[in-house]
């Protein structure tokens, strides 16, 4: 069986698992349901996939799994993206611990520079109960690894990704070990790519529920999906998601220096697309899209938080300009 066929078969397993265990719109899983999900993810090898060293085209596998799950649950996909990026960093430094998550330090100092990691907040998903944490600086050029017990929990409420049990931390005392710079850079690239995969899946999920709704909802004695104006919105949503899919594919096939550039291109497109697609999904649903009983309201909140977890758009655009024009004079 080819690597592609292996991946497709595996994604079929993940898809079935997601469809059975992750109802669209169920934002926070009950402890029972979460326990079942974790057991099934573990049995399917999903939880440790980021630590696989023998996998042919490993990043494609991770990205595909995350997109598949994000169509049902952006929060769990986000948790996996964070986990996989950390696992790959830990493998790179020959550390056995695989129960880890990665996140970015956020915040600027008074001169508009990224604050150092030790002075920053970092938002991390703890739904999979990580024992350790990889914190990357705001630019993705350096990072540290630290036991979770060395972090101080801060009371910060965030917009979405409730089901990831998103928490905000700050380093509470010394004890963090610096990652080698190449490992930090690679971890940042991995995290960005995997977050892009999560944003893509979220957008595709929003599109799917919107198309379903447009087929069912009737106004003026016809399904609203039969009106050209609304069909155009759905087509816009589709092409936005499709463009991200194309750029993500380009990032997955790029090598060397171009790999980071392609990831940044995909990330920039995904960040804007996922929010706009979620906005449009609410529009398609009308008033029902605005109430939390329907899944699309929460998808906008998830989209906002996913984008906040990715590299800031200004930084991404600056890097893309640097690639062609050289560094800012």
């Amino acid at each position: 069986m080819s690597a592609d066929a292996d991946l497709e078969e595996y994604l079929g397993v993940v898809r079935r698992l997601a469809e059975e265990q992750l109802p669209v719109g169920e934002r926070v899983l009950s402890p029972d349901r979460l326990g079942t999900l974790r057991r099934l993810l573990d049995q399917a090898g999903v939880l440790e996939l980021g630590a696989e060293t023998e996998l042919d085209g490993a990043v494609r596998w991770l990205s595909s799994v995350i997109t598949t799950i994000a169509r049902r649950s952006p929060a769990i996909a986000f948790a996996l993206a964070s986990r996989y990026a950390a696992q790959r960093a830990l493998v790179a430094i020959d550390t056995d611990a695989t129960s880890a998550v990665a996140g970015r330090a956020a915040g600027l100092d008074d001169a508009g520079r990224f604050r150092p990691i030790e002075d920053s907040d970092v938002a991390l998903p703890v739904v999979l109960d990580p024992a350790s944490v990889v914190i990357l600086d705001g630019q993705g050029r350096s990072g540290v690894i630290v036991a979770r017990s060395f972090l101080r929990d801060k009371e910060v409420a965030r917009s979405g990704l409730d089901g990831a049990h998103l928490r905000t931390f700050q380093l509470s005392r010394d004890g963090a070990a610096a990652l080698p710079a190449p490992v930090a850079v690679a971890a940042s690239r991995d995290l960005e790519l995997l977050l892009t995969a999560a944003m893509l899946g979220t957008a595709e999920g929003a599109l799917q529920v919107s198309e379903d709704y447009a087929r069912e909802r009737r106004q003026f004695d016809a399904p609203i999906g039969s009106f050209a104006g609304l069909r155009a919105i759905l087509a816009e949503m589709r092409h936005r998601a499709g463009a991200v899919r194309g750029l993500l594919e380009s990032a997955l096939t790029a090598e060397g220096v171009q790999s980071e550039v392609r990831v940044l291109e995909a990330s920039a497109a995904a960040g804007r697309a996922v929010v706009q697609v979620a906005i449009d999904a609410i529009q398609v649903h009308g008033g029902y899209g605005y109430i939390e009983e329907y899944p699309v309201a929460g998808l906008l909140r998830d989209a906002v938080s996913l984008r906040a977890a990715a590299l800031p758009r200004r930084l991404v655009m600056a890097r893309l300009a640097d690639d062609r024009l050289g560094a800012l004079a």
Partner: protein, 412 residues
Amino acid sequence: MSEIESPAYDVSVHESPAYDVSGPATAYLSALQPVLDEVIVPAAEDVDRDHLFPRQGVQALVDAGLGGLLIPREFGGPDAGLVVYAEVLARIAAACGSTSTVYMTNLHCAHPIVLGGRVDQQRRWVPALGSGQAFGATALTESEAGSDVASMRTYARRDGDSYVINGSKMFISNGDVADVLVLFATVDPALGRDGITAFLLDTAHLSGFGVGRPMDKLGQRGASTVPLSFDHCRVPADAVLGEVGRGWALLLQAVLRSRISAAAQGVGFATGAFETVVAYCAKHGLLTARNRAAQDLQFDLAALRAEISAARALLLHACAATDAVAAAGGADPTALLAEVKLHCTRVGVQVAARCLELLGGEADRLDVGLERRLRDAKITEIYDGTNQVQSMLIARDLRFSPTAMSALDTRP
């Protein structure tokens, strides 16, 4: 001037009513600022997070003389005009979306009473709605009659000296706190629009009237929105507002004004988001001339401010035009109001979304207050006629007057 350079349309040939936010407007805005600073802004985050009905904020607005800006003088209001109203509402929205919606919903309820009510109905309710002594709601949307309003099923059957109402309404702002309800129902489903009739109901004296659980909404979470039910709800025949079978015309007049409210909110949400980002950027030294690396950010902010200014100018122009047309005894300019609603609400959503991009990893923090503006703004593209409905109205206008630029052409 070459043909290419020649403008297809010359704004100078059209009468352009001046909108003036100086003079009387200044007094209202001066009265508003301390209410925003001391009451509404400090409560906004809690109102959103905990679904707190912003009674205190609305009362403070009333106490400052801002409660019934559009209420005619004969009913004790200042009749301040739409320009002042839109400016005030936009600033309230910039501070707190929930408060702005509760505030404007009272005026939306009063408007059809002013337009179509009997004197006794007007005297009973219009001053009370303007002075904050009563809350009002307008019950129009149904679960199966959203954009297709005319297909409403709530049925008011004549029975002697009364009507017996059966049916349900959805997404009713202020529905659970309303002392008075303007209800649209049909007296004969077979008549379509010609059966639609408005009723003015005192909720303290209604049997068979039920209020559902407040909806958990994406935004404007302090402004309660509920379903309402009518189960053999008997009301006296004199509860009819206007004429039997003329509810559709009343409805069309009423929603035109509420579209100005949605547009003002759009400008307000964009402004609130923008001011949040500008304050953040100033705090972090990103607006200084010497910070050349931040020029991209400064250009983004410049573009956003230009967008907000353009939307605000359109809004105020439409308000002035609508007031001018009304003073001349003409009908509200439907297509113009559709344009202003479409444009300003879109600006509200898009500016808020762009502002979120500029804040990076801190954009989704609730305490920053930025994502709240996007959540609050999104519903303005849906309520008071979805933006698809506004597009239909503008497209219809194009068919009748293909050369008109209605947003700038204010001639009746």
